[in-house]
């Protein structure tokens, strides 16, 4: 198929449709509103359901009801809106319902700003709402990858009967890049959705719920859910290495748009004879802990620039560099940081 130039938000919307997710609920919020606008036009063409809800609280719960039918359903929002959806995400995780949620992150806390940020990392990867649960989190660094991971997200949601989040910073949502959609989307077979509420005809009634007043029953339910997380941690770790080498003294660790900026900085440093590598997590939960630890342990690595103190902090010195408030660091800033670490700074 030919490549087409698309804005990230629109490409994500189209990718969902191509993955058979023709049921979308939304509430407007910058910088992801183009997903909703694109689907408002496109959904009638594919005979799907498009509905603008009265709030993100309602939208999250519309997803619960819609997901209970067994059909593929999704929503997109940005940071403050995603916070409001967390109630429903917790209930859906408890009731084991598949759903895909796209968070085009903006700066916080509070109303924050509308420019790109990655500050919902902890909300996304630690669960986000109340209770013992996790959502699988995928973080694209290009528009093409946003397309690919959005399509994959629906498969993983069905596979694990669990919410899956695609988190892109505002840059991913707003930037335009050429993308290619698969001619024919083929995915591995999934088990039949015998859990879906389709009416109690010829079978016992089916209840989709998260309430277990008996603590023994709740513990049993949670242990079943934990088994899914263990399987995700074993099978769904995704990451990418860029110009890593045993000779490098510095390993950058970064995801999403920031990883792209790091790549630019790495290329520029390479032209100056300085070799630096990048470890890019693609799945943020499950996080590629073992793979990062292995990479950071390679002989000459002295410093890992990241938030991953916990992973390698005792083995290697870890430094953080980032900006906040919706400011995306420039490649020059990254280069300056690296040169300072190498004792070559200005």
């Amino acid at each position: 198929m030919e490549k087409v130039l698309m804005k990230g938000n629109e490409a994500i919307a189209e990718a969902a449709l191509r993955a058979g997710a023709t049921n979308y609920f939304c509430y407007p919020i910058t910088p992801q509103t183009e997903v909703a606008e694109y689907l408002a036009r496109r959904m009638p063409e594919v005979g799907g359901v498009f509905l603008q809800g009265e709030s993100e609280v309602a939208v999250g719960n519309m997803l619960f009801g819609a997901a209970a039918t067994g059909k593929r359903v999704f929503s997109s929002s940005s940071s403050p809106g995603v916070s409001l959806m967390q109630e429903a995400v917790s209930y859906m995780a408890g009731a084991q319902l598949p759903v895909v949620l796209v968070n085009i992150m903006r700066g916080g806390p509070g109303l924050g700003g509308i420019l790109p940020a990655q500050s919902d990392y902890f909300q996304a990867t630690k669960g986000g709402g109340h209770g013992d649960y996790k959502v699988l989190v995928l973080a694209p660094a290009t528009i093409q990858e946003a397309v690919d991971l959005t399509m994959l997200a629906f498969h993983l949601a069905d596979k694990y009967r669990n919410p899956v989040m695609v988190i892109g910073d505002g840059m991913i949502g707003q930037m335009m890049e050429p993308v290619e959609f698969p001619e024919k989307y083929i995915e591995p077979p999934l088990p039949p959705k015998t859990w879906a509420a389709t009416g109690a005809k010829g079978r016992k009634p089916l209840i989709l719920k998260s309430l277990f007043l008996d603590p023994i029953a709740l513990e049993k339910n949670n242990i079943e859910i934990f088994k899914k997380y263990a399987k995700m941690e074993a099978d769904e770790v995704r990451f990418e290495l860029y110009k890593t080498s045993a000779k490098n003294r510095i390993l950058l660790v970064s995801y999403g748009t920031m990883a792209r900026i790091c790549q630019t900085a790495i290329d520029e440093l390479e032209s100056q004879g300085i070799s630096v590598g990048l470890f890019r997590p693609i799945s943020l939960y499950p996080y590629p802990f073992n793979e990062l630890r292995a990479e950071a342990s390679r002989s000459h690595i002295e410093t890992v620039l990241t938030i991953v103190q916990r992973v390698v902090g005792e083995r290697k010195p870890v430094k953080f560099f980032g900006r906040t408030g919706g400011i995306v660091p420039s490649p020059e800033e990254v280069i300056e940081q690296i040169k300072q670490l190498l004792g070559k700074g200005k």
Partner: protein, 255 residues
């Protein structure tokens, strides 16, 4: 009369399970469950019905109804019902909600679902108090009514007057079927049944959103015997919450 000539004249509706409910003596949830179940039976809807349970005393409604069920976060049942019904307009969807669930935390969800004209049915059980959490003040609690969070009686100067939900929803321009009924006497139960069945019939025909408010007693949290509670409902609840049809959809063909 011989045993052979005897026949059952009163049986459990197929849409109810044989589980014993957890409801308190004198509570009307059991009666209302039965009226919903009889309606589903008589219209032949059970096998394509999904109910949405609230948070409150009736959270366990799915143990008593013999049809598929979803369990909603507090107040969000109309949002769940919207999501489900939009994807499966061929199925019958109803929410079953109390007054804390619907009129307080779920106010936005019910108003917008009604205003969008979602084609599902809401059974709204109003007993003017929070039951499951042990008798706190609800938006529907009457002026002066004593609850655990209004121990000196509801002070309307501080918290306003009770909300009349059906009247509020009746101001919306979108067509709907809205009626308030009660189940405190056999005569009222017959009227309530007719209203509930009519609401499901409208849904089956894809006509409109329906909400039937059912006035209910809560002897336990009102601190009364079941008989006293019925009397109190007659003397206090009904005068504030008039029972009548507030809105009907236009005749088919004139919509």
């Amino acid at each position: 009369m011989s045993l052979d000539a005897m026949k059952a004249t009163f049986t459990r509706p197929e849409s109810l399970t044989d589980a014993v409910t957890h409801y308190c003596p004198g509570c009307t949830h059991g009666v209302i469950h039965r009226l919903v179940a009889e309606s589903l039976d008589e219209l032949g809807l059970r096998e394509r019905t999904v109910g949405v349970a609230p948070v409150g005393c009736s959270v366990l409604a799915y143990n008593y109804f013999n049809c598929d069920f979803l369990e909603s976060p507090h107040g969000r049942a109309p949002a769940l019902a919207t999501g489900f019904k939009r994807l499966r307009p061929d199925m019958i969807v109803f929410t079953y909600q109390g007054d804390g669930d619907l009129a307080s935390i779920g106010m936005a969800e019910i108003v917008h679902a009604a205003n969008r004209g979602e084609k599902f049915t809401t059974i709204f059980v109003n007993n003017a108090i929070y039951g499951m959490t042990g008798g706190q003040m609800a938006p529907t609690t009457l002026p002066g009514q004593v609850t655990t969070t209004s121990p000196r009686g509801r002070n309307v100067k501080e918290v306003g007057m009770p909300i009349r939900m059906v009247e509020l929803l009746a101001t919306l321009a979108t067509p709907a079927y809205l009626e308030r009924v009660s189940v405190h006497s056999p005569q009222q139960i017959i009227r309530a049944k007719a209203a509930i069945k009519r609401a499901f019939a409208y849904q089956e025909a894809g006509r409109c959103f329906s909400l039937i408010e059912v006035l209910s007693t809560c002897p336990t949290n009102w601190g009364k015997t079941p008989t006293e509670a019925t009397q109190w409902l007659n003397e206090n609840i009904i005068p504030y919450y008039p029972m009548r049809v507030f809105k009907t959809p236009p005749e088919a063909g004139n919509e």
